[in-house]
């Protein structure tokens, strides 16, 4: 059996099992990868420079009525980075920066989703980049976008917490330690796919 087919069947079975089981989880959503984006903004010599990851997978369970049961899981393909051009792309996957050869994935798994009232939430969970883990908290806004929903937010990390930019680059004067991460995830209820 083709692996994609097997995966699809597993997904369907899991969905079936989920729909038959008592609702312990919020509803899983189908993420629209073409409309979703993961952007990071660094500051080089005082100049904001943005980049993005072209490939990442998001698993999202979300129920506005029971936000605390929501779950988010993010897996980023480090090698898919777009850091502004071929020179920068080649540099940032090297050992001093993200070391993509040894750490090809960065991950985030939510451990808590808190409602802040209205359509605003707060997501907390461990973020692992370059083999180093740190618990981060990100604000999240959920808005309807046509038949879909937009999950949007931004938070800041300190690149030195993850050892991103070792050696001569461990200097906030040229590339600031603070890096802003912005996410825009577009998804719809899995059934409506």
């Amino acid at each position: 059996m083709k692996p994609e087919l097997a995966a699809a069947m597993r997904k369907t079975l899991a969905l079936l099992a989920l729909s038959l089981a008592p609702a312990v989880h919020a509803a899983p959503l189908a993420v629209d990868a073409t409309k979703s984006e993961l952007v990071f903004i660094s500051k080089q010599m005082g100049v904001p420079v943005d980049g993005r990851f072209r490939k990442f997978t998001v698993k999202l369970d979300f129920d506005a009525k029971k936000p605390e049961t929501s779950k988010a899981n993010l897996e980023i393909d480090i090698a898919s980075i777009d850091a502004g051009g071929p020179d920068a792309d080649g540099e940032v996957v090297r050992k001093p920066w993200l070391n993509a050869a040894q750490f090809p994935k960065a991950t985030f798994t939510s451990t808590a989703v808190k409602s802040l009232g209205g359509n605003r939430y707060e997501v907390t969970g461990p973020l692992t980049i370059k083999g180093k883990t740190k618990v981060v908290t990100a604000p999240l806004t959920v808005k309807p976008q046509g038949a879909q929903q937009l999950f949007e937010g931004a938070f800041q990390i300190n690149r030195s917490d993850f050892g991103i930019g070792d050696g001569p680059w461990n200097d906030p004067e040229t590339v600031a330690f603070e890096v802003q991460i912005r996410f825009r995830i577009v998804a719809q209820p899995a059934a409506a796919k």
């Binding site: 080089q44 005082g46 100049v47 051009g85 680059w169 200097d171 040229t174 590339v175």
Partner: protein, 179 residues
């Protein structure tokens, strides 16, 4: 002897010095492997480029409101025409070189922030294909400027040592007049 105003003389030598330094920096930095030093040098180069552009604008305002001394009477018509043309080209290049550098930086996706404080708006969005074209322009105009500067220096020395006129001294009053 009629000489340039002190302000014109100051502008000339100050701009010449900054351009000379920034040209050398540009030649040196662009082949460096990526490093924090390279990022710093690129920023310094851009800051200096913006500074040159602003100095040239001020210099031109001064030039248009203060008539330069007349050329020596013995100069032939073609010599005058060539001198005028060379000066127009030099003034244009001192504006065009920083302009192409700024556009090149924008096309690369790096905004120019003067001295890390004052952001210069991006006229064009990130476009790596256009960036390559602008890079060629920035480079070619620089080497054209180098060629015209060499001509400019040779001409000044020819006036001083061959024609023994005041053309060099009126812009460099500390040089002894030819006898």
């Amino acid at each position: 002897m009629q000489r340039y105003t002190s302000v014109a003389i100051l502008f000339h030598w100050l701009i010449a010095a900054v351009i000379f330094g920034n040209f050398a920096l540009g030649v040196y930095m662009h082949e460096l492997p990526i490093s924090p030093t390279k990022l710093r040098l690129y920023s310094y180069h851009k800051w200096a480029g913006v500074t040159i552009f602003l100095l040239v604008v001020l210099r031109l305002l001064w030039r248009f409101t203060h008539r330069p001394p007349e050329l020596p009477a013995r100069m032939a018509g073609w010599e005058r025409a060539t001198a005028t043309l060379a000066h127009v080209v030099l003034y244009s290049l001192t504006l065009l070189v920083p302009l192409t550098g700024w556009l090149f930086s924008s096309a690369k996706g790096f905004q120019t922030v003067w001295f890390g404080v004052l952001p210069i708006p991006d006229l064009i969005a990130r476009d790596l294909v256009l960036a390559d074209v602008l890079k060629e322009w920035h480079e070619s105009l620089n080497f054209l400027m180098l060629a015209v500067v060499v001509l400019h220096v040779i001409a000044a020395l020819k006036h001083h040592f061959h024609d023994r006129d005041d053309v060099l001294v009126r812009m460099a009053p500390w040089v002894r007049r030819p006898r």
